[in-house]
């Protein structure tokens, strides 16, 4: 269909899952009252219809933008949200090429995970509630991506934060899980504070030069006005990304978020929500381009997070926690890319990461499901024989994340490293080296996970071991689809040096402006590619030597490993330094003094004042007619005097 007609249907993308959420939620509420559960099949179908519709429209959008001129966009305004004076915000959607890519994989992976959840959550009594929340999440994420202005993006931002909380604390009867949900929300909030300040700063700066709006097109066109505050604004916005995308120092919520159901971890904390931070930086690339120093900070935070998370990851024993730290680490790589100005490379890694990380998480979910909620890898082993499909897909995704060609992760990670190497001179080279080290670490701890879980001797009691069987089709088909993606998608970004045209990068280039990379030095690029493959192989080899060569015996960790098991005790540090003092101040000062003494005192004082005033006025009612007559006469005289004064000396 032609462009203008398609524009009218942009709203379907975020609203279809929203409607799904409301319908399922309504069904859920209805059934709660009667104590009867809605039929699972119906709920499952209703829940998957929305994301599927969004996917279809997203594909149409993608195709349409592919055919059109390079920098064109699809735009739909729903209604004018706020309008006051020089300032107005519209509820409107805009899809450019960057948005189209995001929409594609968000809706695709979202739909797949919805289908997977039908199988995974099949026996859970909160089945309908789960799908309602999941649809709501998808809707918020799509609003975030499609929003044409900063405020609407922030609306989606907050929405996904809310849904993340709802879904992490899904089994809220368990206090620890509920606490994990709260932690996620609160830590996110801290980041959001920075985000909002950034928005304010941008807005007030623009306002000084005339009527302003927060539409991305407007901001991009007037970027030069923002140049003086670009550093502060971009760092403030980045703070929001730090919270949402779990970078240092606000990453602490992501490992705890594994308390939620595995599909949630796959969708939200691997493929979509956590990448919102990267998306935001890419969206605001014109701002970050204005301040090279901000870019350096972003890249530094990214690589530090990547390394720290990798270190923590290889001492963990919970399958989901390992994957969580792996996500934090990969996000660090993405920020390394966008910090260096290679937005295309960063988004490419977002894209590939969505596929292989979702596949890893769903595979982990399948394992957990098959082992009846067992999550400790020390008690697993030799599962490849028992769970062939899960194992095979898991292995494919593992190779992808390690960066082994021709799997997807290789191309995206390599593009990042190549871009960083060519930016900033010495600083870039140092970051590249750290990135290489990080890639090796990634290979190491992911291989550790795979070897301990799927190979070697099985460590479960034999009767349990015999009962293990592969998961149902509803769960394995999504795994296969995602594994296929992890295998093939990398070729979209095939760089020129290997004979390809980097379809992905060139498609996105109109959005970011070209990020110039030396294209003649093929030899250098080959060398770096070889180095990264070598690093990955080194990691895998080391893990093999340590964990597969000899039979795996869980041992007490010592040295750095002990430190790493406790996640370097960052949570405890935060508690000691920030949370406990804050709670103490709150209890002693804020509560006793301000709340009780001042506020309550004021209100009660007002009430007492009213009572006393009433008591005083009450004395006027004497019940004696005589005094009433006096009042009458006195009042009449006062009136007379007033009229006279007004007449003689008019105002």
């Amino acid at each position: 269909m032609d462009r203008t007609a398609l524009e009218n249907f942009l709203w379907i993308i975020p609203i279809a899952p929203l409607i799904g959420a409301m319908v399922v939620g309504f069904l859920c509420a209805l059934s709660n009252k009667r104590g009867v559960f809605p039929p699972r099949a119906l709920v499952g179908v209703l829940a998957c219809v929305g994301p599927l519709a969004s996917f279809v429209v997203s594909v149409l959008v993608f195709l349409s933008l592919g055919k059109s001129a390079e920098a064109s966009t699809l735009h739909q305004k729903l209604y004018s949200w706020m309008a006051c004076g020089a300032f107005s915000i519209d509820f409107s959607f805009e899809a450019d090429r960057l948005t189209a890519i995001m929409l594609l994989f968000v809706t695709f992976v979202g739909t797949i995970i919805h289908c997977y959840s039908i199988g995974y959550m099949g026996h859970d009594k909160g089945y309908a509630r789960f799908f309602s929340y999941l649809n709501l999440f998808l809707s918020s994420m799509l609003i975030l991506v499609l929003g044409s202005n900063l405020v609407l993006m922030f609306l989606g931002w907050e929405g996904v934060g809310l849904c993340s909380y709802l879904l992490i604390a899904f089994w809220f009867d368990d206090e620890a899980k509920a606490a994990a949900g709260k932690k996620a929300f609160i830590v996110n909030r801290i980041g959001d504070f920075g985000f909002v300040l950034g928005i304010f700063l941008i807005f007030t700066t623009l306002l000084k030069q005339g009527p302003a709006s927060l539409e991305f097109s407007f901001l991009a066109a007037h970027a030069n006005i923002l140049a003086p505050v670009a550093l502060t604004a971009s760092l403030l916005l980045f703070m929001g990304a730090v919270g949402k995308s779990a970078q240092i120092p606000l990453y602490v919520w992501l490992p705890d978020a594994m308390a939620g159901p595995t599909p949630v971890s796959a969708l939200i904390h691997a493929a979509t929500m956590v990448t919102a931070g990267v998306f935001m930086v890419a969206r605001m690339h014109f701002l970050f381009d204005l301040s090279p120093f901000a870019g350096k900070v972003v890249a530094l935070v990214g690589i530090t997070t990547a390394l720290l998370a990798a270190f923590i990851g290889f001492a963990q024993n919970d399958i989901k926690k390992i994957l969580a730290y792996s996500t934090v680490s990969q996000l660090g790589f993405m920020f390394l890319a966008v910090g260096a100005g290679a937005y295309g490379a960063g988004i490419f890694h977002v894209f590939t990461h969505a596929f292989f990380k979702a596949c890893l998480f769903l595979g982990a979910g399948s394992v957990i499901h098959a082992l009846h909620e067992e999550q400790d890898i020390r008690r697993m082993g030799g599962l490849l024989k028992k769970l062939p499909i899960t194992g095979a897909t898991f292995l494919i995704a593992w190779l992808a994340i390690c960066g082994i060609p021709p799997f997807a992760g290789f191309f995206s990670k390599d593009e990042i490293l190549w871009s960083v190497f060519n930016t900033w001179g010495l600083y870039g080279k140092v970051l590249w080296a750290l990135g290489l080290f990080g890639a090796g670490l990634t290979a190491f701890y992911m291989s550790r996970l795979v070897f301990i879980t799927f190979f070697g001797k099985n460590r479960l009691p034999s009767d349990q071991h015999d009962k293990i069987h592969e998961s149902p089709l509803m769960m394995t088909i999504p795994l296969m689809v995602l594994a296929l993606g992890s295998l093939t998608i990398g070729f979209l970004g095939l760089p020129a040096t290997l004979g390809g045209t980097n379809v992905f990068g060139t498609w996105l280039a109109p959005v970011f402006g070209a990020h110039e990379l030396p294209s003649e030095e093929h030899s250098m690029e080959y060398a770096l590619m070889a180095l990264s493959v070598f690093a990955a192989a080194l990691g895998i080899g080391a893990a093999y030597l340590k964990y597969l060569r000899k039979p795996f015996a869980p041992s007490k960790p010592h040295g750095i490993a002990a430190f790493a098991v406790g996640a370097f005790f960052v949570d405890e540090l935060y508690a000691r330094v920030l949370i406990n003092p804050l709670a103490a101040i709150s209890r002693s000062f804020l509560f006793r003094v301000i709340d009780v003494a001042i506020i309550d005192g004021a209100i009660n004082g007002l009430a007492a004042l009213a009572l006393r005033a009433g008591g005083a006025v009450r004395l006027l009612q004497t019940g004696s007619v005589r005094t009433y007559v006096y009042y009458l006469g006195g009042g009449a005289v006062v009136l007379m005097v007033v009229i006279f004064v007004g007449w003689r000396w008019p105002l």
């Binding site: 005589r626 006096y630 006469g633 006195g634 009449a636 005289v637 007379m640 005097v641 006279f644 003689r648």
Partner: protein, 172 residues
């Protein structure tokens, strides 16, 4: 007031004096009936004042309505009520009451005198005389609505008074 005091002026002053006298006498009576009768005299004097002011219709109405109907009504009720015990009792007027009353009255008169000083009260020549015909014309054209509402008001007062005073059937 100049040396030429016309006949109308003398009659006016006469009626005025009677009115004031009547009012003062009313204040000082012991019995309610005595007060009522002196008030009738006062009202009749008022009627005379209205005549000097070219308002014959109002004068007639003053006699018929005020002196005739209202005062008669008051006298009837006085007769109904036993006021002997009333007359025996000395009325206690508190000091405060008297003081307040004097202050109020004094304030009012002061305001008048101040207003007078300004000479803002104008006198224009004699206009139309308020004969029945003239008043009737005004009443039924310009003030027709007011007139109708007034009759409604009278009806309400009538019914209200009846309802108030009505006693249920005594069980005898």
């Amino acid at each position: 007031m100049g040396m030429n005091i016309s006949a109308a002026a003398i009659i006016g002053m006469l009626f005025g004096a009677i009115a004031v006298a009547g009012a003062l006498v009313m204040l000082t009576r012991k019995t309610a009936l005595g007060g009522a009768i002196s008030l009738v005299v006062c009202f009749l004097a008022f009627s005379g004042l209205y005549v000097t002011l070219d308002a014959p219709f109002v004068a007639i109405m003053q006699v018929i309505v005020y002196a005739g109907a209202i005062m008669m009504l008051i006298v009837f009720v006085i007769m109904t009520v036993d006021t002997r015990a009333e007359a025996l009792r000395r009325e206690r007027t508190t000091v405060i009451g008297a003081v307040v009353a004097i202050i109020i009255v004094g304030a009012g008169i002061a305001v008048y005198i101040l207003a007078l000083h300004d000479n803002a009260i104008i006198t224009r020549g004699a206009g139309i005389v308020g004969t029945i015909a003239n008043i009737g014309l005004r009443l039924f054209t310009r003030h027709a609505l007011n007139f109708e509402m007034l009759s409604l008001l009278l009806l309400v007062a009538l019914v209200g008074a009846l309802v108030l005073v009505k006693q249920g059937k005594k069980k005898t």
